[in-house]
Each structure stands twice: as structure tokens, then as C-alpha cells.
């Protein structure tokens, strides 16, 4: 056991490298003049690529414990490691131009980004509550700072404060749960928790309270209703790339932890599982409903994306809820969904950023006439939204179908029903955005903003038939930066590819989920 502390540390090379590189970024930042900070982005990106490369060299099919089982390096961890680093790359691509124009201290920005990614990687590997908690905090701390990064912006500050207060609160709750579990079982290792859970005889309330509070803590990171309320504010206040990062990265990380925790600590305790299945199912249901319904009433694009992301969390949670019945199917469904969700959101946020960089506006009504001003960006956002709404040839459709099939197969057809219904609702507000971009014209949009938001879309009273003269052409905006265009382009390709032929990705996910396949 003690030997476990010293041997095979080389398996942690990616993490060590990442830490070192993060510090390197910080140091280099000190010596770089303000105008050439872009190099830091390059450096960070390079380091992430390096980490990916290293991770790719590792064997996904075997798993090795570290530090006597505090962590494990296995297919699941590797998969998510690469996934997270890829997300990091995307976020960096989003940040460069935005940072140059709108942020100070970009050096720290990229450094913190790397640290948060480190946190996520550890999260995906940790097999013990404390380790998980610490990695989670590493991630959260970086995020707290990043959210509040718009120093001069009141919105950004406010977002930071709300985020950190609720974050600290829920981490306290989570810790309390941890302490209870420890008090009840004397251990914080997932596998041992599972063993004790499965042991006959009814467990003490202390233990259950502990697990409940643990779930609450996760719920906060996942922004599952009712622990979601920080999300809209944080999303709206944070700088755009950070919003994207919140929506994609921290959620993915939280799900990575959730998956492993449930897979290793709770699913094996099948005896006591079923009632928890219902708890998660209910959480999922209200999360979908609340997220999608409230999204209908939004005016700010970032806020809209916040609520929509809450809705999507609901879908993924539905997958978690049926982990008990057909684990492989459900886990694959969830992971597949996460990947698709991440890629699609990346595309959408890239689009939004591209527009914001030029216009500095992020209200839905401000998108009016975008299709004429930034055709490609508009198309990218449109496709992204269609994909999020789950319409075919885009990845969203396939992923939703897969996931919901898993949910239904897990004996929760009603939950699948709710999910499908709410994705109809989501189509409603995605189409509102679409409408601004493609149908409305800025001229009208100006004096109709109120009308759009207060009344149903069909109440607004201006007609332009196809045949009458199209309004005077709107001057197109300056093209988006190469990086953003590339991000969107690649993202779109992936979205369509996954929508048409997801098989290869699914095989990868197969190995990943196989690693955490509960033996029980």
C-alpha cells in the first residue's frame, strides 16, 4: 500500500506538465510587454496540445491506481483529460481576440485557465472524496477569478460575488456531507463506500444525509435545479469566453466526477439504489422543465444560453438516473451527450463572441439582421442552435436520440417523455434567436425590441412580403478573426459528422465507460 505512493508516478506526467506550464505562463507573463501577450495564448495552447499528445500515448485499456487509490489513471480519465484539454483549446481560441480588446492581465487569464483544466483532469481521475473535493476547489477557484475578470465591469464583479458566495456555501454543504459519510463509514474511498453501502442492515441516517449533501454539492457544480440560481447571473456577468467555459468545461468536469462517483460508489450498492434513482430522476425532470421554461423569457443571449445549458444538464442527469439499469448504455449516452453538447456550445459561443467582438452587444434583439451582416457566423449559430434543439443531421439529434433511448430503456419512459417535450420548448426559444438573425431587420428590430420581448412573436405588426423591396442593405460587419472562423468551421464539421456518423466516437466512449463499469 505505501509503495503505491511512490511507484508509477510517471502516469501523472500530464498533470505535472500542466502544473509546470501553468506556472511557466505566469512567469513569462511578467516579462512580456502588454502588446505581445498573445504569445501567452499560443504558449497555453501549445502546452495543452502537449498534454493531449502525452495522454494519447497512454494505454486507455488498463487502469493503474496512484497514491494508494486516491486516484486512478484509466480509460475514463484519459478520455476526459483529452476532452478537457480540447475544450481548453477551444476556449483559448475564443479568448484571444476578446482578451486583446476587453481584458487586462491576460497572462493570469491563461494561467488560471490551465489551472482549472488541471483541476478538471484530477477530478476525472480522483477516486476519493477529499481528492475529488480538492480538485473541484482548484477548478472552482480559477473559475471564481475568471468570472470576475472584467475588473471594471459591475456585471462581472456582481457575477463573481454571487458565484463565489453560493459556491463556497455549497462547498461547505458538500464538505459537511463528506464529514458525515466519513463519520458513518470511516472511509472516503468510492469503492469502500460502495462496499459499505451494499452491506446488509440499514445504514444510519448520518450516512444518508451525507450522501444527500454530497449530491447537493454536485448539483451546484452541475447547476441542477434548485441549485442552479447562480448560473444565469454568472453566465451573464462573466466575460464571454468564460461564460463559454462555464457552460462547457465546468459542467463536463462535474459530470465526469458524478459519473465516476455514481459508478464506483453508488451503483454497485444496487440494493439501496432504486430510491436514489427516483431522486435523480425528479431532479432531472425539474431541471429540464425549469431551465427550458425560464429560457423562454430571456432577452440576453448569454443568459439564454445559461438557462438552455441548465436544460441540457437536465437531459444528462436523466441519463445518470438510469445508470442503475443498463449501465453501459446509459453511461455511453451521457458521455456522448456531453461531448456533443460541448462541441455544439463551443460553436454557438464562438459565433456569439465573433459578433460581440464587432458589435459589443449581447441581447437577442441585437442580433437582428445578422444573417446579412455576418452570414457565416449567423449560419454557425443557427446550426448550433438547431443541433442543441435536437434536429437532424446535426449531432444534437443523434445524441438526444441515443440518450433518450437509454433513459426509456432504463424503464423511465416518462422521463424521456418530459425530456422530449422540453426539447420542443427549447426549440421555441432557439427559433426566436434564429428569427432575429434571419428574419428581422435591424431597422425594425430597434423600435420593436419591446414588442418582441413582451408579446408573443406573432403580435408584432410589420409586414415585409417576399415581393416588396428588400430594405436598404445593411453594411456587413468586418469578418470574424481567423481563429474564431476556424473554431466555428471545425466545430461545424464535427457537429455534422457526429450527426451523420457517430460510430467512431461511440467506440472511444465505449472504452471510456468500460473503465468505470461497476463490477457489482
Amino acid at each position: 500500500m505505501e509503495t503505491g505512493l511512490t511507484t508509477n508516478l510517471h502516469l501523472l506526467t500530464p498533470e505535472f506538465a500542466l502544473t509546470a506550464l501553468a506556472f511557466l505562463v505566469f512567469t513569462v507573463d511578467l516579462f512580456l510587454p502588454e502588446r505581445s501577450k498573445e504569445w501567452l495564448a499560443g504558449l497555453a495552447a501549445a502546452s495543452l496540445l502537449a498534454v493531449i499528445a502525452v495522454a494519447l500515448l497512454m494505454r486507455p485499456d488498463q487502469s493503474a491506481e496512484l497514491y494508494g487509490g486516491l486516484m486512478v489513471v484509466d480509460g475514463f480519465g484519459l478520455f476526459f483529460k483529452i476532452f478537457f484539454c480540447a475544450i481548453g483549446l477551444g476556449i483559448i481560441a475564443l479568448s484571444v481576440e476578446y482578451g486583446r480588446d476587453r481584458l487586462q492581465h491576460r497572462g493570469e487569464f491563461y494561467g488560471l485557465l490551465l489551472f482549472s483544466i488541471l483541476g478538471m483532469n484530477l477530478l476525472a481521475m480522483s477516486r476519493e472524496l477529499l481528492t475529488a473535493y480538492i480538485s473541484l476547489e482548484l477548478l472552482s477557484f480559477s473559475l471564481y477569478v475568471l468570472v470576475a475578470y472584467g475588473l471594471r465591469e459591475a456585471r462581472s464583479n456582481e457575477a463573481g460575488i454571487k458565484y463565489i458566495i453560493i459556491g463556497v456555501l455549497s462547498s461547505a454543504i458538500m464538505l459537511y456531507g463528506l464529514s458525515n459519510i466519513y463519520a458513518a463509514l470511516g472511509t472516503t474511498y468510492f469503492t469502500e463506500i460502495a462496499a459499505d453501502l451494499a452491506a446488509p442492515g440499514d445504514a444510519s441516517p448520518v450516512l444518508w444525509v451525507g450522501i444527500a449533501l454530497l449530491v447537493v454539492g454536485l448539483g451546484f457544480k452541475l447547476s441542477a435545479v434548485p441549485f442552479h440560481m447562480w448560473a444565469p447571473d454568472a453566465y451573464e456577468g462573466a466575460p464571454l469566453p468564460v461564460t463559454a467555459y462555464l457552460a462547457i468545461g465546468s459542467k463536463a468536469a462535474a459530470f465526469a466526477l458524478t459519473l465516476r462517483l455514481f459508478a464506483e460508489a453508488i451503483v454497485p450498492a444496487a440494493a439501496r439504489w432504486d430510491e436514489w434513482q427516483l431522486v435523480i430522476a425528479v431532479l432531472a425532470a425539474i431541471t429540464m422543465l425549469a431551465g427550458n421554461l425560464v429560457a423562454l423569457a430571456q432577452r440576453n443571449l448569454k443568459r439564454l444560453m445559461a438557462y438552455s445549458s441548465i436544460g441540457h444538464v437536465g437531459y444528462a442527469l436523466a441519463g445518470i438516473a438510469v445508470l442503475g439499469s443498463d449501465f453501459a448504455l446509459a453511461a455511453k449516452g451521457v458521455i456522448f451527450y456531453l461531448v456533443v453538447y460541448a462541441v455544439t456550445n463551443l460553436v454557438v459561443f464562438a459565433g456569439i463572441t465573433a459578433y460581440y467582438n464587432r458589435e459589443g452587444k449581447d441581447n437577442i434583439a441585437d442580433l437582428a439582421g445578422m444573417a446579412d451582416r455576418q452570414p457565416f457566423v449567423a449560419a454557425a449559430i443557427a446550426i448550433g442552435l438547431f443541433s442543441l434543439a435536437g434536429l437532424p443531421i446535426f449531432a444534437g439529434f443523434t445524441a438526444k436520440f441515443y440518450l433518450f433511448a437509454a433513459v426509456a430503456d432504463g424503464g423511465m419512459l416518462w422521463l424521456a417523455g418530459v425530456a422530449i417535450f422540453t426539447s420542443l420548448v427549447s426549440l421555441y426559444y432557439y427559433l426566436q434567436v434564429m428569427r432575429q438573425m434571419y428574419i428581422e431587420r435591424p431597422a425594425h428590430a430597434e423600435h420593436n425590441v419591446a414588442a418582441h420581448q413582451e408579446h408573443a412573436e406573432h403580435d408584432n405588426i410589420h409586414q415585409h412580403a417576399a415581393h416588396d423591396e428588400p430594405d436598404p442593405p445593411i453594411p456587413p460587419l468586418q469578418r470574424p478573426s481567423i481563429l474564431l472562423t476556424a473554431t466555428m468551421g471545425i466545430g461545424l464539421l464535427v457537429v455534422v459528422w457526429l450527426g451523420i456518423y457517430p460510430a467512431p466516437l461511440l467506440t472511444l466512449i465505449e472504452t471510456a465507460s468500460a473503465a468505470i463499469l461497476p463490477l457489482g
Binding site: 500500500m1 494508494g68 487509490g69 477529499l130 473535493y133 480538492i134 476547489e137 477557484f141 471564481y144 477569478v145 470576475a148 475588473l151 471594471r152 459591475a154 456585471r155 464583479n157 456582481e158 457575477a159 463573481g160 460575488i161 454571487k162 463565489i164 458566495i165 463556497v168 456555501l169 462547498s171 461547505a172 454543504i173 464538505l175 459537511y176 463528506l178 464529514s179 458525515n180 466519513y182 463519520a183 470511516g186 472511509t187 472516503t188 474511498y189 448520518v206 444565469p232 447571473d233 451573464e236 456577468g237 423569457a297
Partner: protein, 106 residues
């Protein structure tokens, strides 16, 4: 000796008080402090538990204490970070009263 339950009750009480503070206070700083209170409840829980289930756990009976130390560290870090952000808020808006901090809503 005193049964573990008592300690747990103490912890729970402390946790509750902290939670109440977090809900009732309007000053961001005080909210953070109440949350620190909750974290201390966690520590009480951990240490008490550790001393009661000695022998169990990987690191002899010390798991609880170790965790507690981590918690304290994290808590300290949290407070530092939180105060930094609150300070920034104060610079910009001249207030840290959470009643007034609500540009972002709905």
C-alpha cells in the same frame, strides 16, 4: 465518554447557525464569515469522528484530522479569494450590501 452523537449534534448546530447567518446577513463579508462557521462545523464533525473510529481508515486514525487540515486550508484560500472579489466590488460600486448587488436578475 461523550458519545459521538453529541459532537455530531454540536456540529449540526454550528452548521445550522452558520447557514442561518449566510441567509440572514446582508453584508457580503458577514455572509462569507458565516459560511466559515459552517466549515468549522465540518471540522468538528471530522475530528470527532476520527477520534471515535480509530484504527479504521488508510492512515491509521488520522484520516479525519488530515481532511480537517485540508478543509481549513481551503477555507482560508476561499476567504482570501472572496474578500478580494468583494473588495473589487467595493471599489467599483461603493457597496458590499447584497441587497444592492442585483443588476443581474431574472
Amino acid at each position: 465518554m461523550v458519545p459521538l452523537l453529541y459532537f455530531q449534534l454540536l456540529g449540526a448546530a454550528l452548521f445550522g447557525i452558520g447557514l442561518y447567518g449566510a441567509l440572514a446577513r446582508r453584508s457580503a463579508v458577514l455572509i462569507i464569515l458565516s459560511i466559515e462557521l459552517m466549515l468549522n462545523a465540518v471540522n468538528i464533525n471530522l475530528i470527532a469522528a476520527a477520534s471515535y473510529l480509530n484504527g479504521i481508515g488508510r492512515f491509521a486514525a488520522f484520516d479525519g484530522q488530515i481532511i480537517a487540515i485540508f478543509v481549513i486550508t481551503v477555507a482560508a484560500a476561499e476567504v482570501g479569494l472572496a474578500f478580494a472579489i468583494i473588495l473589487r466590488m467595493y471599489r467599483n460600486r461603493g457597496t458590499i450590501n447584497v441587497d444592492e448587488i442585483n443588476i443581474l436578475k431574472w
